[in-house]
């Protein structure tokens, strides 16, 4: 009796499991940056997912937030083991690595199969960044940034600077920095510590078209003369800076407590400054980064991307990627976070365009230099970044004259690329 009951129970369980398998959802793994998987951002992502699942019965999207390093290492390891997430975010700058390991599918056929109206929504330059050669496309550009310059108005006013007109050129900016330092405050963070801040400064003095690498000849495109001008800026700024990098929490603390005048960075620090303005009366604004000449501007730009993995889920993964990057979703995303993105049509939405941070970001992107072009053409070795920041720091520390430093830097960059 007991044995037959057990047999019946096992059979029933087997049937129910088989039945469940037959109707189980097609599950897509969707990896996003950790800050997109918390708070209001997560709620909106979940709303997108819910809408997509309703429109596509039988599909289930599982969202997972990851830190920058976890995203990349997880995608690399996933590609090696055949468990790469179906849809995922990452940065343009690591695109080549992801292509190398086979984590990114060529979505060109799917892209071309979309209506022209959809394709026209996106920023043409951003799309170009995802398309390294004809009939090849590895990503849809997603959120992005153009660097802006945050100004602490209290510090500037205390230094006797008229804050109504932001500095238009490097010279005007430098003069203001000197005044700030004379008033006992820090002018800027140490711009030599992070590759992106070196790039940002180069964009002020250098030839923006030459900030990059020729992967075919394995040589840097950077020329000695503009690099020497850039290094000279680091030398000039050395006595005026805070010693903290642009990414350090300490830099934000200095700015919030009226010890630091300028912070050149992306829009992601604005929520902290906005909160400080409400809570502790921080007086600040943001303007375009000054250029070498009036009318031009410095700073960097880049995009986060949405990629689709090759494999059996590619078609539905592409459909989901196209859904979340479409104008309606991107406009909602921009409104919620006040963050610029690559959907140009969404950026022109009147409600979005009226947001001050987005308005400034759209303007900044027009002038900014790409952080690490050309994308998807080759992996930038770590020694390239290190050589750049090391020389910038060494010049700022007084160990090199600008001309000598630029010459040696270019030799170091080429040596690194030749390896």
């Amino acid at each position: 009796m007991i044995a037959s009951t057990c047999r019946a129970a096992i059979l029933a369980a087997s049937v129910s499991l088989l039945g469940a398998g037959a109707v189980s959802a097609q599950e897509l793994q969707y990896w996003v940056y950790s800050d997109f998987a918390q708070g209001d951002a997560l709620k909106l992502q979940e709303q997108f997912i819910s809408e997509f699942e309703t429109a596509n019965p039988g599909v289930k999207i599982v969202i997972s937030g990851r830190g920058d390093d976890d995203l990349t290492s997880g995608q690399v390891a996933g590609a090696a083991s055949g468990t790469v997430p179906d849809v995922f975010m990452n940065g343009l700058a690591v695109g080549a690595q992801l292509v190398d390991v086979g984590a990114l599918a060529n979505i060109y056929p799917e892209w071309m199969a979309m209506p022209q109206e959809f394709r026209d929504q996106f920023d043409a330059d951003a799309i170009k960044s995802c398309s390294p050669k004809p009939e090849t496309m590895y990503c849809i550009p997603y959120t992005g940034f153009g660097e802006i310059m945050y100004r602490n108005l209290t510090v500037l006013e205390a230094a006797g600077i008229d804050t109504k007109t932001p500095p238009a050129t490097w010279k005007e900016w430098y003069d203001q920095m000197v005044k700030v330092k004379a008033s006992g405050k820090f002018a800027v963070p140490d711009q030599t510590q992070v590759f992106n801040s070196v790039a940002s400064m180069y964009a002020i003095q250098g030839d923006k078209a030459k900030w990059g690498i020729d992967f075919a000849s394995k040589k840097t495109l950077i020329e000695q003369e503009p690099m020497a001008r850039t290094l000279q800026m680091f030398i000039d700024m050395a006595p005026l800076q805070s010693g903290t990098s642009r990414n350090d929490q300490a830099t934000k603390d200095l700015f919030i407590t009226n010890q630091l005048a300028f912070h050149v960075v992306g829009p992601w620090v604005n929520p902290s400054y906005e909160q400080a303005a409400k809570e502790s009366g921080l007086k600040y604004d943001y303007v375009l980064v000054p250029g070498g000449t009036a009318g031009d501007h410095g700073g960097i730009k880049s995009y986060e991307i949405v990629g689709v993995a090759p494999g059996p889920n590619k078609a539905i993964a592409w459909k989901f990627a196209a859904y979340i990057t479409e104008k309606k979703q991107m406009a909602r995303w921009a409104k919620l976070l006040s963050r610029y993105n690559a959907n140009a049509a969404a950026m022109k939405d009147p409600d979005v365009a009226a947001l001050p941070l987005i308005e400034k970001s759209v303007e900044a992107v027009k002038y900014a230099v790409d952080v690490m072009p050309p994308y998807f053409a080759g992996t930038v070795p770590n020694c390239y970044r290190t050589a750049m920041t090391d020389m910038a720091s060494a010049a700022a520390d007084g160990q090199y004259k600008a001309e000598d430093g630029a010459k040696e830097l270019i030799a170091n960059l080429n040596e690194c690329l030749q390896k």
């Binding site: 390093d69 590609a79 190398d100 390991v101 140490d190 350090d248 992996t379 770590n382 390896k419």
Partner: protein, 295 residues
């Protein structure tokens, strides 16, 4: 001899053996294979002979990481053990609740997750507002940029590392101290030996096996230093080691080559070079101990 007699014993070690083979032996053997190949984890490995080893050994970052490591070890290992030994003597001088209290307090940093410890210290080291600079400010010392001044970064790291590891070494040394027969101290006291002489002629010689373990373990840990400098410098796979690579260490460099540059072959070669160094250092320490041990 009946082979079936030992079957239950083999069966008992089988679960460990399987897991050990899967998670230690296989990665070691496959890693050794990949160290001779150009491999990015996705495409087929391409045999390159010793090129990966040559590439690592000739790179500037390797030289810099090794120089940093040498400077770090020669300060951290002796200083860390001296601090732990001092704490062990201190705790040993207490009895009852106070001994338990101090032992727990000094051990607390050991159980703290590394990221938390590093975050706390990042805040403490912050220029102008950090606790350390605030205290220095009371004495009229200007703000020090502990985490970005290349002349001070290594010392800032060493302070954190000693803070983290001293408790662990202290507990081991304390256990060794408890095993020293008290009559040796009583005899020394009767002979009029001072406290310092008791430590020098009784405690240290009697603790030598434990000290050997602590020193060897300290060397091996120091050679693999990674998490604290990685976190203190806010490193990522594409940018690590802090300003002018002042806190670049071999394991960080290895991780960057693997997941930043996706050169897994080179990274595994790096791992084997580091392993060889660790084996050499450990063997040298054992040889030294054997040489110094009276026959």
């Amino acid at each position: 001899m009946n082979p079936t007699r030992h079957l239950p014993h083999y069966a008992m070690i089988l679960p460990f053996a399987v897991l050990f083979a899967a998670f230690f032996l296989y990665p070691i053997v496959s890693g050794f294979y990949y160290s001779f190949h150009d491999w990015n984890a996705a495409t087929a490995p391409r045999f390159v002979g010793l090129a990966n080893y040559q590439s690592v050994l000739s790179s500037r970052d390797f030289a810099r990481a090794m120089t940093n490591l040498f400077n770090y070890i020669v300060i951290t290992v002796p200083l860390g053990i001296a601090v732990a030994f001092g704490l062990a003597l201190l705790v040993d001088s207490f009895t009852g609740a106070w001994a338990n209290f101090f032992r727990s307090v000094f051990f607390l940093p050991v159980v703290l997750p590394a990221f938390l410890a590093a975050t706390i210290w990042r805040w403490m080291y912050a220029p102008n507002f950090g606790l350390v600079n605030m205290v220095l400010g009371w004495f009229g010392v200007a703000s020090v940029n502990f985490l970005n001044d290349t002349g001070k970064m290594l010392y800032a790291l060493i302070a954190v590392d000693i803070w983290v590891s001293a408790g662990f070494n202290m507990v081991i040394l304390l256990a060794g101290l408890k095993n020293i027969p008290q009559d040796l101290y009583e005899a020394a006291r009767l002979d009029g030996a001072s406290r310092i002489n008791q430590v020098r002629y009784i405690t240290i010689p009697m603790l030598s096996p434990v000290l050997f373990f602590v020193i060897t373990y300290g060397f091996i840990s120091a050679l693999q230093v990674f998490d604290v400098p990685w976190l203190l410098t806010g490193s990522s796979f594409t940018a690590y080691g802090g300003r002018r690579s002042a806190l670049l260490f071999p394991v960080m460099d290895m991780m960057g080559r693997a997941f930043g540059s996706v050169h897994f072959g080179e990274a595994t070669a790096y791992g084997f070079i580091l392993t060889a160094i660790i084996i050499l250092v450990t063997a040298a320490m054992f040889a030294l101990r054997r040489w110094r041990t009276p026959k």
